[in-house]
Amino acid sequence: MDYSIEIENLKNELKTLGFDDEKINQLLDLAAEELIEEALDYLAENTDEQTLDTLAQEMEKPVSTTEDAQTRLNMVLEKAYGMQAEEKKGEFLYNYLKTTLEDTKKAKDLYDRYQSGDPSAVAAIKAQEGDPDAQEIIDRM
């Protein structure tokens, strides 16, 4: 599967839903962070001692340029997934954007139905009132 094309298609779909370039960029950043976190988690259990030791030493060195920083992040991915790093990146980003697209569609549908007075949608929205996550989300909107 050519993830690059699929990712481009997903980005276009997200744009049609209302994501502008700035929001997509923010989304991609979140995806990248998530990807790095996944790679680190993978390294914790699936990498030999020497590799982890080398990686730890490399990551402790100071970063002076943007290119240095980019190289470090990719080093984490390559140490974790080896030759599959590129494939893994495409796959992860594809899944992330696809999930986001689906979540957006579902939330938008619920929102639209709430606005139109659909009792089930109103009930679903009311059921979430008081959820502490709601305020956290509002604070970041």
């Binding site: 923010q26 950043d29 993978y42 990719n74 619920l110 305020q135 989300i137």
Partner: protein, 597 residues
Amino acid sequence: MDNNQEGPRTPSGIYLPEGSEIAQQMATQEVKPINSSDGPRTPGGIYLPEGSKIAQEMSAPENNEWVSQGSSQNEIDITKYKESIHPPIKTVSENAEKGLDTPSFVTVKEKKHKTPNEDKVAETKTEIQDTSKPTPPIPPLKDNTPYDLESGSGYDPAPKKPFDLEFGDDSLPEEPIKQDSKSETTPPIKSEDGEDKKPKIEVEISEILKEKHILEIKLEETININIELKARLDSLEIMLKNFTQKYDNPEDLQNALDPNRQRPLNPLEQVQATLLPEQIKQQQDFAKAVEQERIAHDPTYGKTPEVVPVTPQETDPNQQRKERNWKRAALIAGVVAGGTTGIVGGVPAAGIGALACIGAGVINKGVDFIGSRRINKLTEQLKTTTDPETRAKLEKRIKNWEKARKGTEYVKSFLTGAKLGLLGSSIFSGVFMGGHGLVWNQAEIPTGIPTGHTDASGSLGNNPTVETAPPVDQSAPLVDGNIPTPEVPTETYDLFANGRLNLPGSAMDGWRLADIPQGYENVPLENIPDNLFANSASKYFHMFIRDAGAAGYSNAQVSEAISKMGPQVAHRILRDGAYSGQNILQTMIDGGWLPTK
């Protein structure tokens, strides 16, 4: 007027001419001659007519002590000194004989007449108080005669004082002052108009004390001048000693007289040699005092600040995970609510959007995620493991993992521009735009002969055993004897123009084509280890360029082939060639996009 003539006289003995009005008046009043009259007299022996006001006032009390008749008379605190003042002048003279100071509080407040020395005293006082006047100059050397360096003559080791003073003691003249036995004290005398009259002796004592005080001041000044002169004399003696130094060794004398001898450039060198160490010591002491002051009061002194250019705000992975969830949900909620503002069904639109996200399951409840984290498993495993060796391994693993994670936090903060002001999506760009190779975009190319160390960024996979680069293949094909032929591409392709991969629509677009490692320019690409390239895929792209050029494929043909296959297929072929070692040119030929040669 002749006072020696015979005739009537005043009680005080002043001659009165006969017939004068005063003489007649005195004759009618039967004034008795002063010497022949008995009655009260002043301490000075002046006759006082009986019943006169002065006589009444001067009548002595029973205890034979005089009492001041008014506040205008300066009173002497006799008890302070516990000495008799009968008579006072006698007390002064006695003190002088004993070598004691006479109390100096005997002053005259209301002085009617200036004493002969008063002007002089006042002038001297003014002179002493005037500090602006320069001190007396240091006396010149004797007769202004230049120093004779050999003999030292012409130098007066004891210069004269600016003025010579002869000091006496505090005693008064030895001649005793005759006192009337009847008047041991000096009672206050009032003149006819009622004002107090000071006895002459008191005034004189006051004058003497003043002069004594002035002389004491001058003595002190003289002592100070002498001290200064003594210091000057000492320095001159040292100088003289230096000038009259004897040279027992002829060579030393010759060297000293040598006009070409090396003289110190700094004429103050000798002085500085003594002063500088002292000055340096003072500075060191001062610096030490300052340091102690800072140690005592500056809590940050001596502590080396940690150099952490960018500090991540939150390092707890679980909390970060939640934060990312909230941010993602907020992005979705913002899109869901769209441009809707105000109140929707009594609830703000933004709130409805957030609730819709939660209702739609956008938020990943973190418990499941946290529970599945592998590092948490390791931590749990460490808690239950008792074997020391296993525990040590686990601890080391967790420690290294934490180091790596901390490093990624630092890098992410760097890329998000916490202090660089970078644009958004920087982390994504770091990870995806450039792909496995963000190394593709590295500007620096390895220089020099590789030393065998593998650049971590240039190695793919997690195989750390590839530590050393193989030596240069000595079996490389040689042309015309021993000189290898450089592999110069015969064709320049737009696909790799400007050293970058130009493939719009592909994630690899813009990746930098790394140069052939220095020192390997004449080595066949197949014999160059992948990890010596700034990015390993460059090796296979260089092979494609070389083979396509050697086969005679023009830039137009390659560009046409890329156009035919489209960016997606081109991306896949290049990617497979870069990471799987698949021959790119052969793939394009086999696919029919390039004609067979």
